[in-house]
Amino acid sequence: MFRTTVLTVGKRVSLVLGLPAALFAVWWFATAGSTDFYVPPLSVILQKFGEVWTGARLESDVLPSLLRLGAGYLLAVVTGVGLGLLVGLSRIVRDVLEPVLELFRAVPPPVLVPVIMLFAGIGDTMKIIVIVSGCLWPILLNTVEGVRAVDEVLSDTCRSYGIDGPARLWHLVLRSASPQIVTGMRQSLSIGIILMVISEMFAASNGLGFTIVQFQRSFAIPEMWSGVLLLGLLGFVLSLLFRLAENRALAWYHGLRRAQRTP
C-alpha cells in the first residue's frame, strides 16, 4: 500500500517536473560553451541573476514596480466593481453606456501611455493611472455582465423575504456576480503586469521595465536575460497567487459546478 503511494507520488512528481527539468538541461548544455554575444551561457545568466536582483536593486527597482502595480490594480478593482454595479443594475444606464465602454475596452491599453503622459507627466502617478485605465475595463464589463445575469429565482426569493438595499447588493448581487468579477480580475492582472513594464520602458528613472531596457541599450546582455527571467517568474508567481486566492474565495462556486457536472 505504502509502496504504491510512493510510486504514484513519484510518478506525478516526475510528470510535473520532468519536462521543465529537461528543457532547463537543454538550455544549460546548449549554451554552456556559447561564445555568441547575444546568447550567453545559462550559468552566466543565473550568476548575474543572483548579483543583479538581490540587495540594493530589489529595493530600488523591483519594489517600486510592485507597489505601483499593486496600487493601480487595487484601484482598478474597486472602481471597476463599483461602477459595474451601478451600470449593471439599471437597464437604461447599461444600454446608454455599453457602446462607449466597448470602445474604451477595445483601445489597446499601451497606447494610453502617451496620452496619460500628457496629463500626468512621467512620475508614479502617471504609471498608476496607466495601470488603472488598462485594468479597469475587463473588471467593469465583467461585473456588468455578472450583475445582469443574477439568477431570477434567487432575485425573486430575496424580494419576497424583504431583502433589499445594501443587504441585497452584498448577499445577492455581488455574490452571484463574483465568478464573473474574478474572471475580469484575472484578465486585468496580466494587463496590469504588461502596463507596469511598458510604462517604465517609456519613461521612468527606476523600475523593472526601465532597468531591463537600460541593460539592453548598454549591451549588458547577461543582465538583460536575467531581467527577462525575473519578469517571467513574476508573471508566473502572480498568476499562481491569484489562482490560490480564487480557489479560496470561489470554493463554493467551483464546488457547485462540480456537483452540477457529475449528477
Binding site: 519536462l19 462607449v100 477595445a106 496620452v115 500628457l118 496629463f119 504588461i194 508566473f236
Partner: protein
C-alpha cells in the same frame, strides 16, 4: 492539476453556460430601444469631449475638443503615411495571428490526443503561459531590431497560448460515449480526430481564435509603440514626441475602432463556423 484549476483557466465557449443564457432572453425581447440608447451614449461622449476643454476644467493643450480631433483624423485619412502605417499594423496582426492559430491548433491537437503528452506538458504550459510577452521586448530588439520579425515574435508568443489552452480544453471535452462509438465503428486515429474531436473542440477553438485576435492586435500596436517598428503604434509615438496632441487622440481613436472591428469580425467568423452548434442556433 486539479479539475477546478482547469476550469478556472479556460473560458467557456460563448453561449454554452446555462445560467446567464436564461436571463439574457427577456432583455432581447424588450431591447428594441437599446441601439438608440447606445447611439445617445456615444453622442454624449462626443459632447463631453467637446465641452470639457472649453469649460476650462481640463486644459485644451492636453485634451483638445472633439472637433479638433475629428479635423486631425480627417487630415490623417488624406495622408499616404497613415494608410501605410495601417497596412503595416494589419500585416503584423494578420501574420502573427495566422502563425499563432496554426501552431496552437497543431500543438493542441497533438498534445490533446495523446494523454501521456498532455500529462508531461501540463506543468510547462502552466509555467510558460503567464509569462508576460513584454518581457521578450528587449530580446526582440536585440535579435531583430525594428523589423517586422520582432513584432511577430511578441504577437505569436502572446496569442499562441490563448489558442493552445482553448484547443486543449476542447479536446478534453470529448464525450466518452461518442469516442467509444467511433472506436466500435472502427474509425481510425485520423477519423476520430476529424469526426469526433474536431466538432467537439471547434467551439473552444473559435473562442481561442477570438481571444487571440484581440491579444494579437494589442501586442502588434504595443510592439510598434515601444520598439518602433513601422505601424500605427509608431505613428502615435511620433505624434506624441512632436507635440501633435489632436493627432495622438485621432490615432488612439483609430486603434480603438480597429479593436472594435476585430472583435465584431471575430464574432461573425465564430457564428459562421458554429452555425450548426446549439449555442448559436438557440440565439438565432
Amino acid at each position: 492539476m486539479t479539475p477546478s484549476a482547469t476550469t478556472s483557466v479556460t473560458t467557456k465557449p460563448a453561449g454554452t453556460d446555462t445560467g446567464p443564457g436564461a436571463a439574457r432572453n427577456p432583455r432581447r425581447l424588450g431591447g428594441a430601444a437599446a441601439p438608440l440608447r447606445g447611439l445617445a451614449g456615444l453622442a454624449g461622449l462626443v459632447v463631453v469631449l467637446q465641452v470639457l476643454p472649453h469649460s476650462g476644467l481640463v486644459s485644451g493643450d492636453y485634451l483638445p475638443p472633439a472637433s479638433e480631433m475629428a479635423r486631425a483624423l480627417w487630415h490623417l485619412l488624406a495622408e499616404d503615411a497613415f494608410w501605410t502605417a495601417l497596412g503595416d499594423t494589419l500585416t503584423g496582426w494578420g501574420l502573427g495571428l495566422a502563425i499563432a492559430v496554426a501552431a496552437g491548433l497543431v500543438a493542441g491537437i497533438v498534445i490533446g490526443s495523446v494523454p501521456v503528452l498532455r500529462a508531461v506538458t501540463a506543468s510547462t504550459i502552466e509555467f510558460l503561459r503567464p509569462i508576460p510577452s513584454v518581457a521578450l521586448i528587449p530580446v526582440a530588439v536585440l535579435l531583430y531590431g525594428t523589423d517586422l520579425r520582432s513584432v511577430l515574435l511578441l504577437v505569436v508568443y502572446a496569442s499562441f497560448w490563448q489558442v493552445l489552452v482553448q484547443v486543449l480544453a476542447g479536446t478534453q471535452d470529448v464525450d466518452p460515449v461518442a469516442e467509444d462509438t467511433a472506436r466500435s465503428y472502427r474509425l481510425g486515429g485520423w477519423g476520430r480526430v476529424r469526426y469526433v474531436m474536431w466538432p467537439t473542440a471547434l467551439p473552444y477553438v473559435m473562442t481561442g481564435v477570438r481571444l487571440a485576435a484581440t491579444v494579437a492586435l494589442v501586442l502588434t500596436i504595443t510592439a510598434e509603440l515601444v520598439i518602433g517598428a513601422p505601424g500605427l503604434g509608431h505613428e502615435i509615438a511620433i505624434a506624441q514626441t512632436s507635440g501633435a496632441v489632436p493627432q495622438v487622440y485621432a490615432l488612439v481613436l483609430v486603434t480603438g475602432l480597429l479593436g472594435v472591428a476585430v472583435n465584431l469580425m471575430a464574432r461573425a467568423v465564430e457564428r459562421r463556423a458554429l452555425h450548426w452548434h446549439p449555442s448559436v442556433r438557440r440565439e438565432g
